[in-house]
């Protein structure tokens, strides 16, 4: 999979004049910004300001009504759903606020889930997932189903799943939103260490100022518009 990755460029995310309209509502209005490779960016703003919509647009989960978005220098606004999926498979990780783990799969299987459609040796896939579970301190929980894991453990599994394809960019939507403060801090420590040690671009949507303090830079969103 690494063979398919493009050579890293300095600009990891480029957003130019992006807007999103739903009928008469425009949650994102003419937004432009860039993110350098290895940067840790937080997107702040009150509820309903358009943060999650913008995150979806930047991560290729949604298409903008106007403007252009590039990830790792690849223009994504014209890509088909399947090509966007392949881009996410190869370069992007995504952590949801609600974890979105597969309930019938164990922690280990959930971590390796993004690799299921990839032609690779099963042992290699399991080894990669097991290594990640070890790194996030859940080696002993590998065989547990999500229902038998705490909220913090589930989010750790979700983070490991987002990392299993060795992405250059990690998008997180309120990653600590469903966790208590102690567990939230642990998750945050994990994410920041990934950013520091592995140079993963970190793009976190949050309304938590404490997270913003840890980031290199914060974008503020209000009524669909972004200020830096």
């Amino acid at each position: 999979m690494n063979k398919n990755k493009k050579i890293l460029t300095k600009q990891s995310i480029t957003v130019q004049n992006v807007s999103k309209h739903f009928d008469t509502v425009s949650p994102v209005k003419n937004v432009s910004f860039t993110v350098e490779q290895g940067e840790f960016i937080t997107l702040l703003g009150p509820s309903g300001s358009g943060k999650s919509t913008l995150l979806g647009l930047v991560a290729g989960l949604e298409k903008p009504s106007e403007g252009s978005i590039s990830l790792q220098s690849q223009e994504i606004t014209g890509l088909s759903e399947d090509n966007l999926a392949l881009l996410r498979r190869n370069s992007v990780g995504f952590v949801f606020q609600a974890f979105h783990l597969i309930p019938t799969l164990t922690a280990l299987e959930n971590v390796s889930f993004p690799l299921y459609p990839v032609k690779m040796d099963i042992k290699e896939r399991q080894q990669r997932a097991a290594t990640l579970l070890g790194k996030i301190g859940l080696a002993d929980r590998a065989d547990h189903l999500p229902t038998h894991l705490s909220g913090g453990e589930r989010q750790r599994v979700a983070i490991a799943r987002a990392l299993v394809n060795e992405p250059q960019i990690l998008f997180c939507d309120e990653p600590t939103g469903n966790l208590d403060s102690k567990t939230g801090k642990e998750i945050l420590d994990l994410l920041t260490s990934l950013n520091r040690e592995q140079g993963v671009t970190l793009f976190i949507v949050t309304h938590d100022q404490e997270i913003a303090k840890l980031s290199n830079r914060s974008l503020f969103m209000q009524d669909g518009e972004v200020t830096q």
Binding site: L61, E81, T104, Y116, P117
Partner: protein
């Protein structure tokens, strides 16, 4: 690429959903197996009275009876059919063979007997009694003045093999006993003699000559073997050829004889079964679509972590294929058990008086005869293919259509949809 681990986990990890999906397919398969087997068994049952005697058409002609019942007399339902008419019928396309017989009543001062003349080597008709001999031997084509006696009648008449019996004033030696009730109720008699001798007796009988002309080569019962798919067409042609007084019986005649209530019940149960089957198929469609809908969040996750539309559809199709295969196997087993239960049902098919005439004025003369037929379930390859393909095609088409629609949505739309 289909992941078998995920496939098995979905099947075992979502027990309720799997049970509903598999159960639904099993139910549809079971209903389909039962309807098809039952329909086939009923059709075969209607053929039974005629197939017992190796024919699928019988031909008789209505006529008059003499004023005096004395000596050999032809019952009103079996008037003569000329040799020429038999030749014309034999030439009709689709007819494989014709077996001719002569049925007559023989009255004497203190006795009455029903006699049938037949050719011992015929492929159909009373000649098939050769398989129901209880003692002695069957008539052979070379026999003259020999007779077979019906077992129960012979006991009542205290007749034994080797003894003589008078038929139309001529002596016949009993060479065998036969239990005709095991074979057929059509054209059954107390005594069976060679056809040529029966023709001779009837042609010379004053009681016959009073109302009919009976030629030396004529007969009054025809047992016809015809191509199964042409039976009704041939029956209609014979009726048109030989006029109004001709009575032609086919399996459909027995179906009609079971009465309008039976037909109505049969149709009603057919409609109910059909509706249940359609409803069950609709449930498969609905359930397959619902299975996709309830997994929209999961499908959104698949897309978000890099599964393409083809990856997702392949996985969902494989899951549903497994449900349907397991459901079909279970349904075939349940259908087999149900069919086995149904095969113990026996239905009574009435035999018209015309086909086994007995004088009304004698005890039991107006008694309705029935042929008891046990329903025979005969599963075939066609049934197996139909029962396997219907849920498979419907289920997989629904899953493919629903999953295609959902994978075409943008990932965030899938999450919003959920």
């Amino acid at each position: 690429m289909i992941n078998t681990k995920y496939l098995i986990n979905e099947l075992t990890g979502r027990g309720r959903r799997s049970a509903i999906n598999i159960g639904l397919v099993a139910f549809v398969t079971c209903v389909l197996v039962c309807i098809t087997l039952l329909t086939g068994a009923l059709e075969r049952a209607f053929h039974a009275p005629l197939s017992d005697i190796g024919a699928n058409i019988t031909v008789q002609k209505a006529g008059d009876v003499p004023e005096q019942m004395a000596g050999p007399v032809l019952p009103c339902s079996v008037a003569p059919i000329s040799a020429e008419q038999s030749v014309v019928i034999a030439s009709l396309p689709g007819i494989q063979s014709i077996s001719r017989a002569v049925l007559f009543w023989d009255f004497s001062d203190d006795a009455f007997q029903i006699v049938v003349g037949m050719q011992a080597n015929d492929p159909a008709g009373p000649a098939l009694l050769r398989t129901a001999i209880t003692a002695g031997r069957m008539l052979s084509p070379e026999d003259t003045s020999m007779a077979l006696a019906e077992t129960v009648w012979a006991q009542q008449a205290k007749l034994h093999i080797g003894e003589q019996v008078q038929i139309g004033g001529f002596p016949f030696t009993i060479v065998g006993l036969v239990d005709a009730s095991q074979i057929s109720r059509i054209g059954t008699a107390n005594l069976y003699i060679p056809l040529a001798q029966a023709q001779k007796i009837v042609a010379a009988a004053p009681g016959v000559a009073e109302v009919h002309f009976f030629g030396a080569e004529d007969s009054n019962l025809l047992f016809i073997k015809a191509d199964r798919d042409k039976t009704e067409e041939i029956a209609a042609t014979i009726k048109a050829l030989l006029g109004e007084k001709i009575s032609v019986s086919t399996p459909n005649s027995f179906k009609k004889l079971l009465g309008s209530l039976f037909t109505l019940t049969q149709r009603f149960s057919g409609i109910i079964s059909g509706m249940v089957f359609l409803l069950a198929l609709l449930l498969i469609v609905r359930n397959s679509a619902a299975a996709i809908r309830e997994r929209t969040k999961e499908i959104g996750t698949m897309k978000a972590v890099g599964w393409t539309g083809a990856d997702i559809r392949g996985q969902l199709l494989a899951e549903n294929f497994l449900y349907i295969v397991l459901g079909t196997v279970l349904g075939l087993i349940l259908g087999g058990i149900a069919a086995w239960g149904l095969s113990h049902i026996t239905i009574a098919i009435p035999i018209p008086w015309d086909m086994a005439p007995k004088p009304h004025f004698l005890p039991g003369g107006e008694e309705q005869l029935f042929r008891q037929v046990r329903l025979q379930m005969e599963p075939g390859l066609q049934l197996l293919i139909l029962t396997c393909m219907a849920p498979l095609l419907l289920g997989l088409t629904t899953v493919w259509t629903a999953s295609r629609a959902i994978t075409k949505l943008q990932t965030s739309e899938v999450f919003r949809y959920e």
